[in-house]
């Protein structure tokens, strides 16, 4: 399939979906509208709302807040995950002691932590960052841990035969291996940073995309909810595109068929 046909078909899916939505919400079939606009809004209303947000410029502040929260969550979670992942992988005894607790915290649905963070850190940016960090940390942590643990024994033996010291092993073998695992989960961890930010905002805040959606929902403003969701989706796609770009630059040494781990 050529690129042009692919893009055309992809666009066609959106056109059909929106057309269907439009027809079902605005044109009565057998005297009733199949999807009542009160619950489903209409494409025109949602579109108008999005245009209004951007024209009036009110949306930028919310996008900016969500972006900052996601970015901070990603950075702090990644740094923590790398450090602890390395530490545990190189100190099996430490890892063994903490193992049940790591599993316990990771098994916990992170949403239940949101009220605690709001209590501790207030309704501002940092309670959302904290929620995002708890999500990102574990993804990065597990990948780095795995990356250090699963260095091929032959490559390790080769490095030692070539005369590498412990410090050089870190730099030339463990670090690149761990990074490659971390980068292969980049899409997931960035995605979870956004999830943390938006869910945090939804549960209690004064700004951000999650806040917009929550506000609209509170007054049965379905057009607002859908508009917020669409902006959020576009936002995530844009971030994902940036991640793909970064990934392509950083993992040039990888075969193209390499699978993505989450």
């Amino acid at each position: 399939m050529s690129r042009i046909t692919l893009v055309t078909l992809q666009l066609l899916v959106a056109v059909v979906a929106i057309a269907l939505w439009h027809v079902l919400t605005t044109i009565p079939i057998g005297g009733v509208k199949v999807l009542p606009p009160f619950f489903f809004s209409t494409p025109a209303d949602v579109g108008a709302r999005i245009v209004k947000w951007f024209v009036e410029g009110t949306i930028w502040r919310h996008l900016w807040i969500t972006l900052i929260e996601a970015l901070l969550a990603f950075l702090i979670g990644s740094i923590g995950g790398v450090l602890v992942g390395f530490w545990f992988a190189r100190q099996p005894k430490v890892a063994a002691v903490f193992d049940p607790y790591v599993k316990m915290i990771n098994a916990l649905p992170r949403v239940v932590l949101a009220p605690i963070f709001a209590l501790w850190l207030g309704l501002g940016v940092w309670s959302k960052v904290a929620l995002g960090v708890t999500l990102v940390f574990f993804i990065v942590f597990f990948n780095v841990y795995q990356g250090v643990k699963e260095v091929s024994p032959t490559i390790l033996a080769n490095a030692r035969m070539l005369g590498m010291s412990e410090h050089q092993l870190m730099r030339h073998v463990y670090w690149p291996s761990a990074l490659s695992w971390m980068f292969s989960s980049l899409h997931t961890s960035v995605g979870f940073a956004v999830v943390g930010a938006v869910v945090g905002e939804y549960l209690g805040s004064a700004a951000g995309l999650g806040y917009i959606i929550q506000q609209a929902e509170g007054v049965f403003d379905v057009a607002g909810v859908f508009a917020g969701m669409l902006v959020l989706a576009a936002f995530v796609i844009a971030i994902d595109a940036v991640v793909s770009l970064v990934e392509r630059r950083l993992l040039v040494w990888r075969p193209v068929t390499a699978d993505t781990r989450t």
């Binding site: 091929s152 032959t154 490559i155 033996a157 080769n158 490095a159 030692r160 035969m161 070539l162 005369g163 590498m164 010291s165 050089q168 030339h172 073998v173 690149p176 291996s177 490659s180 040039v252 040494w253 990888r254 075969p255």
Partner: protein
């Protein structure tokens, strides 16, 4: 001449046992004694699973023998064998480094100036026939090309002892022959002591000065030691047509055959 100098590698009564579950042990190699003179090319041949690689790993200092001693010119071996270079059977290149970086890494980590390491790395790539491939990553190279990079990576450090574990095993027949000739060509320049493990008797005779035969495991022993009287320089393709080659092959095969059959019986033909 060789008799006077200290041997490059001296294994004396080396026994290697591994601890298995439930307090039992598996003896891979039992009381193996082998001495490799400086500049000597020794091939170690044996059936699958006979502990050839284990013996090589002990010489490399990657594992310690359960009993017996390992010595090099530098005296008794402690820890990793600093005077040895090791070409592994499995993929051992760093996949995140380019071919050139892989070749130069041995110099980099020993503190050689970056630009000098680079130019010497490029020279080595050229010697193994990979000029212009320096910027490729291992996954962009063929199996034979990766082995060439591996060879350059090991030889650039100029090790006094070269350990090779079925290095050309996964390659096709033609590539093996080309790689064998390349190896002999590089080796003839400065004649390092070589321990070359293979299960291919023809390859062993064609390359080496001495062929050592190991028995089938467990508790494999060294059961034969032949000198190869073929003149050097050799071409692997041509030397195999030599009459002396065939006589020696027949003679060694008499011993090796029984062990191979035993080895097959134990591993179920695998």
């Amino acid at each position: 001449m060789h008799a006077r100098a200290a041997p490059a590698v001296a294994l004396a009564d080396v026994t290697i046992a591994f601890r298995l579950a439930r307090n039992s042990t598996y003896t891979a190699v039992e009381r193996a004694s082998l001495s490799v003179a400086d500049g000597e090319f020794v091939a170690i041949v044996g059936p699958t699973g006979c502990g050839k690689t284990t013996l090589l790993n002990v010489t490399a200092g990657l594992i310690a023998p359960s009993a017996g001693t390992v010595a090099t010119f530098a005296g008794p071996l402690r820890g990793v064998n600093r005077s040895a270079g090791y070409l592994f059977q499995a993929e051992a290149l760093f996949p995140w480094k380019t071919a050139l970086e892989n070749v130069a890494i041995g110099l980099d980590i020993s503190g050689v100036d970056k630009s000098e390491a680079r130019s010497r790395g490029e020279a080595w790539l050229k010697r193994v026939g990979l000029a212009g491939f320096g910027s490729r990553y291992p996954h962009m190279l063929s199996g034979g090309q990766r082995k060439r990079v591996g060879l350059a990576q090991v030889l650039i450090r100029d090790p006094k002892i070269l350990l090779m574990d079925e290095p050309f095993g996964p390659l096709d027949a033609q590539t093996r022959q080309i790689m064998g000739n390349l190896l002999l060509d590089l080796w003839s320049g400065d004649r390092k002591a070589v321990m070359f493990v293979t299960h291919d008797l023809e390859e062993a005779i064609a390359l080496s000065d001495r062929v050592v035969i190991m028995s089938a495991g467990p508790a494999a022993r060294i059961i034969g030691d032949w000198r190869v009287p073929l003149p050097r320089p050799r071409d692997i393709g041509e030397v195999k047509l030599d009459r002396a080659f065939h006589d020696l092959h027949r003679e060694i095969w008499q011993t090796l055959k029984d062990e191979v059959l035993k080895g097959y019986a134990q591993t179920g033909g695998g």
